[in-house]
Amino acid sequence: MSLKVFLIENNQGGTRLFAEQLKDSFLWVYKLDFAETLIAAAEVLHQKTFCIILLDIDMHDENLKMIPVVILATSRAEEDIVKSYKHHANCYISKPLDLNQFMKVVKSIEDFRFSIVKLSSKT
């Protein structure tokens, strides 16, 4: 069973690059969906459920409460980290600076969430 991942990311600067590379490399391992705005994301969430949502920091939303939210952000600023936890993100990961690190992080999330952690999805 592959991990259903939803990546919600603004298409600003070079950040979209990760989304494209992730899609190309990992489509066969993860079931990956993308959205660039919360409105688009809400439509997708209406139709599908996911194991993990990777969410760009400024897009956090109360309606995502029941699905683990991993904030994946370029910011390393303390106030952004604290803000995310205060808004009940499950955890915060700084976006790695290169693709190899990024893959390592995604694999860690998969290992941790998939094999150890119980998710509250309805199956």
Binding site: K65, M66, P68, R76, E78, E79, I81, V82, K83, Y85, K86, H88, N90, C91, Y92, I93, S94, V105, S108, I109, D111, F112, S115, I116, V117, K118, L119, S120
Partner: protein, 149 residues
């Protein structure tokens, strides 16, 4: 994270065997850490809210919380922590014998950061603690403890 070079972990757990295993698993960690163990829910809240003898206690960076605790159960402890403006930022990992769907839903609804069912096998238990260490201590950014933010 602040410039302190070790991570404080609070383990709220009353089972002596599990406490011993957790200590063992965390002792060999590549990340320097200090484990504080508290064995009942009331005392855990006293510690976190700095009541009485815990007036000068320092805040943990990460909390591992069992659900079946004497005096005040884990779910109540979770709610109280996540309702507090200063404490709610601290990641809480529920570590429990339960695998009940209702417990999973209820704890995530109350903002638990993760839910893990304790394996019965001791080697697996140690592996779980090491996984927690790998993920939460090396990959994840933990929030700063100072109250400036």
């Amino acid at each position: 994270m602040s410039s302190v070079d070790f991570i404080k972990i609070l383990l709220v757990e009353d089972n002596e065997g599990d406490i011993r295993l957790a200590r063992e698993a965390l002792t060999g960690s590549k990340v320097r850490n200090e484990l504080q163990v508290i064995k009942d829910g009331q005392e855990a809240l006293d510690y976190l809210f700095q009541n009485g003898e815990y007036e000068k206690s320092s805040r943990p960076d990460l909390i591992l919380l069992d659900l079946n605790l004497p005096k005040i159960n884990g779910k109540e402890v979770l709610k109280k922590i996540k309702a507090n403006e200063d404490l709610k930022r601290i990641p809480i990992i529920i570590l429990t014998t339960s695998s009940s769907h209702d417990d999973i839903i209820e704890t995530y609804s109350n903002y638990a950061n993760s839910f893990i069912t304790k394996p019965l096998d001791w080697e697996q238990f140690i592996n779980v603690i090491k996984s927690i260490e790998d993920f939460w201590l090396t990959i994840v950014k933990l929030p700063d403890k100072s109250l400036d933010n």
